[in-house]
Structure formats: structure tokens, C-alpha cells
Subunit: 196 residues, 2 copies
DNA sequence: TTGCAATGAGACTGACCGGTCTATACCATT
DNA sequence: AATGGTATAGACCGGTCAGTCTCATTGCAA
């Protein structure tokens, strides 16, 4: 209906993700969305309300995006649990990537009782259960979903810090080992010859 | 020398970690440190300067803490690479734990050219090279250091979100598999009998 | 005792914060 | 043509932000 609300959400999503939630004021949002101040408060009870809307919308969009990419990259359901990390690599390479918006929100908002925390936690729950579905459809044990999510989060954190997509492939390799697709390396113990 | 500077850093470290950097104003710091406003600006050029000092101090403290804990928990150097995750679990269980201060800083500050980013990146580099040392001293391949760090970060992110220490043990199990200490599970492929 | 550097207390600046309020303009339905 | 909902523009509120400045007080050392 109201394209004003959509415009606000578009602008806020962009600014919140790029600069962080606390770093973006209501003034910046309404001016960039070209919207009157009162129109903002007609559609959102407060800035906090907008933050929740931002996270809920991002939850939906993120999950739809991964679902689509994974289907595209892996026609065979058996390949999908690992292909998640290829999709993740795509994401890492996308312009302006700045990590998981939900993890960032949690890092920023601090208060675990806040609505933002709740929305972020809900997203991660849904994401993990999606991973479980992928595993089930690949005829693998759903029990690995939490492990995959841990690798997913780890890759994201490392990628943001070092600004490359390589951690996604690193995580994929570990995941493959975990799921039994690859044999573990057999050469971990180094020969006892002195180094250098 | 000056205990004023130390007091400021003590208070700032606590507040920055607990509430986030942007959420803590100079006023709160100086009032809680019981220090005059000008004393603050005599010791730190700006709030950003204080943030860098906070991160550098935390870098030192964090690495010293892990080093000590790992030595304590694993007298045998061969056990130390995995015992890192037991130390991490201790950390997760500590009161008021709110994740990695450096990851949080990166999430909050956004600008990758900022001093805060630089300090955080430097910490992670040092931490990874410490992990490499542990691996070397355990006669394992240093190449795994990046993998261990990825698991470390993943466990941290998950732990903060769900508020438990369990992800540390999950990461440890994966690390053990990775380092070849454990055999991979042999039962991943579920029997083709229909579920439920 | 004198002198100096460090600290304290607090006023002050200009900018911005989230949020409220009034007044006006537009546009579709009746 | 009148009405009612939705938009706009922008003044305004109290509070907080980071940072500067002045001046009094402290404490130590020459």
C-alpha cells in the first residue's frame, strides 16, 4: 500500500547495514527517504520499531536469497548442504558486504532482552532449521545443522575482518570433512626432523 | 605513572565492552572514573584515541589470559590446540560475557579504515599466530591455525546469541576431527527407511 | 617557601539525538 | 463541491554528544 513505508524501510535497511544502527539517526533516514518527519512516526512507533522492522525484513530477504542461490548452484539436493558455503562466498564478494546484519545488531545493541536481540535470535533459529532441512533432503543427519551454522558464523566473522571470501571455502572444506564427504588429512603429525 | 589514565582505561574498558563503544559517552566515563573532563583530554586526544587504547589493552590482556589458561588446562603441549576451546568455554561462562570485544568493535565501527578496525585486525593476527605456535609445539601442522580461528569465531558468535557455553565444545569436537585426533563419524548417511 | 605541573570543577559551544506538534497541501471518494 | 485521510514542511522540546576553555586546588620538588 503505502510506498512511504517502503521507502523508509529501503533507506533504513541500507543505512543500518552499512553504517550500523546506532550510527544512523532518524534525521538521516527521513531526509534520504525524502519523507516528512511525521510520516515516519505514523508508520513506525519509534526508531526501535523501525529497527525491528528492518531485521524482520532482512530475515525474510536473507533466507529467500540463500534458498534461491542454493537451488541454483546445486540442482541435486545431495550437494546443497555444502553449496551453502559457495552461496556464502558469493555474499562475501558482494559489494559493500559488512557481515551478518543480525550478528552486527546483537553486537551493537548489547541488551539481550531487546527486541533487536529477539529478532536476530529468531532469524538464526529459522536459518538453522533451514540447514536441517537441507541436510534431511540430502539424506544426511540433521544433527549437523548446528555445526554448519557454527562454521557459517565463523566464516562470516573472519571474512568481514580480513575482507576476502576465502573463509567461505575454508568453512566448506571443514564442513565436507564433518559430513564425511572427505577423508581427514592423514599427514597432521609432522616428521620429527628439526624445522628450518 | 598516572593513575588517572589507568582509572579512565579501567572504566572505559568495562563500559565499552558491556554496552558497546557508541553507546558510551565521554560524560559517563569521566563521571564513573571520577576524573575531570580536562584530565581525560590530557591523556587521550579524543574518544577515538581512547577506543584504540582500549582495544590495545584488551588485546594484551586477552592473549595473556588465554596463554595462562591453556598452560594451566594442558600441561602437555600436545593437548593445547584443542584445550583452547575449553578455555573459550570458561570465557563463555564468565559473568557478563558479551562476545569478542574486537569483533563487536568491527561490527560497530563499520569503517574498515578506522583505527579501531586496525587494532582489531592486529589482535586477530596475533591470536592466529599464537594458535600456530600451539600447533607447532604440538607437532601439528601450523596450516590449521586459520581453521581453528574460524571455529573459534564461530563458537563465539553462536555462544553470544544463544547465551550458552555449548558452542565451545561443539567447536572443539570439530577441531578434533580436523586435527585427526578423532575419526570422522561413519554414520552420516541415514538408512533409507522413511522417517517418522 | 616558592614554583610548577597535574588535577579538579564546571561553564560553554555547536551539533545532533529521538520525539512531538501545528499548519498546510494534496488527492481520492462521496 | 465538500470531506477525510495522508502526505509535507518545519518549528520546537529536552537531552546528550564530543570537545574547548577558564580558573581554582592540590601536591611534590627544588
Amino acid at each position: 500500500m503505502s510506498q512511504v513505508r517502503e521507502r523508509i524501510l529501503d533507506v533504513a535497511s541500507d543505512l543500518f547495514y552499512r553504517h550500523g544502527i546506532k550510527a544512523v539517526g532518524v534525521d538521516a533516514i527521513i531526509s534520504q527517504a525524502d519523507v516528512a518527519r511525521m510520516s515516519f512516526y505514523r508508520h513506525f512507533r519509534s526508531k526501535d520499531g523501525l529497527v525491528v522492522a528492518y531485521l524482520e525484513r532482512r530475515d525474510e530477504a536473507t533466507r529467500v536469497w540463500f534458498e534461491k542461490q542454493v537451488r541454483r548452484l546445486a540442482p541435486n539436493p545431495r550437494d546443497r548442504p555444502l553449496v551453502v558455503f559457495d552461496a556464502l562466498a558469493l555474499r562475501f564478494r558482494s559489494k559493500g558486504y559488512r557481515g551478518c546484519g543480525f550478528i552486527n545488531a546483537i553486537a551493537e545493541v548489547a541488551d539481550p532482552a531487546s527486541d533487536a536481540h529477539g529478532a536476530a535470535a529468531a532469524h538464526k533459529r529459522r536459518f538453522q532449521s533451514w540447514l536441517a532441512t537441507l541436510l534431511r533432503e540430502a539424506e544426511l543427519d540433521e544433527i549437523f545443522a548446528a555445526d554448519l551454522l557454527l562454521l557459517f558464523e565463523g566464516a562470516t566473522a573472519v571474512s568481514v575482518r580480513q575482507g576476502t571470501a576465502e573463509p567461505a571455502l575454508r568453512a566448506k572444506r571443514i564442513a565436507a570433512l564433518l559430513l564425511g564427504t572427505l577423508e581427514p588429512r592423514r599427514v597432521q603429525r609432522r616428521p620429527s626432523t628439526p624445522r628450518r
